[in-house]
Subunit: 202 residues, 2 copies
């Protein structure tokens, strides 16, 4: 049997070959998993990937950008959520839930989303990434709603309902939540989100 | 190296030795995981465990009893939930959430609970057990509330909020939900549960 041959690496390859972005993402995935979101730096990822930090900045505008790529999320919450949040305050809960369900109901996106959620919930080591990387990003956007008080508390309560909805509908398959039309489910759950975001909670 | 020696099994062992219950539970765990809740029978578990069906009935009163043992749940929802549900309707949501948090906040119970939830959510094969075995049991109890209409829909919506709360507080550690006093959190989330259970949802 022939000995395995190490793949050849041309000198120019690290400067931006088709694989460089993928190698940075793979290094980021390892760094985020090992150190968490807050203790991972673009510079550290560059070192792990064996590339110049400038190259990381070439592909990713900031740490959250790199994080979203490392999570392999098939959508970017920074572009998807604002349309739901920026409309009239009345109905924002229904629009927010509707947006989440629309993304999750897409059969082209769901396998990747399920795999992210299963890995984050099934594994102690990656749950904190969901919290510090992804949910923080969502709550920051909720905090930008006009006149919202105590956004961390309100946002995390709203987040808990949306997380539970995702788990019930897509992970556990709890009926009738699992098969209800998204529009109907958004109408049922929307007022809960609005209560958490805007009502006097005492 | 000596060949591994098969453990000796005395004739009387299967009749009720200290290990018999454990062997039945282990067999049940395999059967539930392979076939789901509905397609598992006490008779089939007895066959897998290599014991007489009467012995399974000796240790477990019914399939749900065996299921709860197989899930390794450190509490029995059939005895824990009724006190919260049977009091006055006003405040039932707060009492229900308070009961869930009280169980989960107990440091002696939490590791086993986390392991059940992580396994059910992190693994496609066991998510349906959470749905058909455990959540069905909870929703049956909610359905027994006096005058409740459409208990499956109402119960699953309430369940989605409670699942989300558990994931946010104990699995993901989302602040301030993770460190808020249980009484406070129950007061914040209770009205959501009551809306799902009793309000006109359209």
């Amino acid at each position: 049997m022939a000995a395995p041959v190490a793949p050849r690496r041309g000198v120019g390859r690290r400067r931006g070959s088709p694989d460089t972005r993928g190698e940075i993402v793979a290094a980021a995935r390892r760094e985020f998993a090992a150190k968490g979101f807050d203790n991972t730096s673009l510079r550290g990822v560059a070192r792990t990937a064996g590339v110049d930090p400038a190259l990381v900045h070439h592909y990713f505008s900031d740490k959250q950008d790199l994080f979203l790529a490392a999570m392999n999320l098939p959508f970017d919450p920074r572009t998807v959520l604002p349309p739901a949040l920026q409309g009239p305050v009345d109905g924002v809960g229904e629009r927010l839930v509707g947006t989440v369900l629309q993304i999750w109901d897409d059969p082209a996106l769901r396998p990747a989303l399920l795999s992210v959620v299963r890995s984050a919930l099934g594994n102690e080591g990656t749950a904190h990434l969901l919290r510090d990387g992804f949910l923080r990003l969502v709550i920051e956007q909720i905090a930008a709603l006009p006149g919202i008080s105590d956004p961390q508390r309100r946002g995390s309560l709203a987040g808990s309902q949306i997380i539970g909805l995702i788990v019930a509908r897509y992970v556990v398959g709890l009926e009738p939540i699992a098969s209800m039309p998204a529009v109907r489910l958004a109408a049922l759950v929307g007022p809960t989100i609005e209560r958490y975001l805007f009502d006097d909670l005492g």
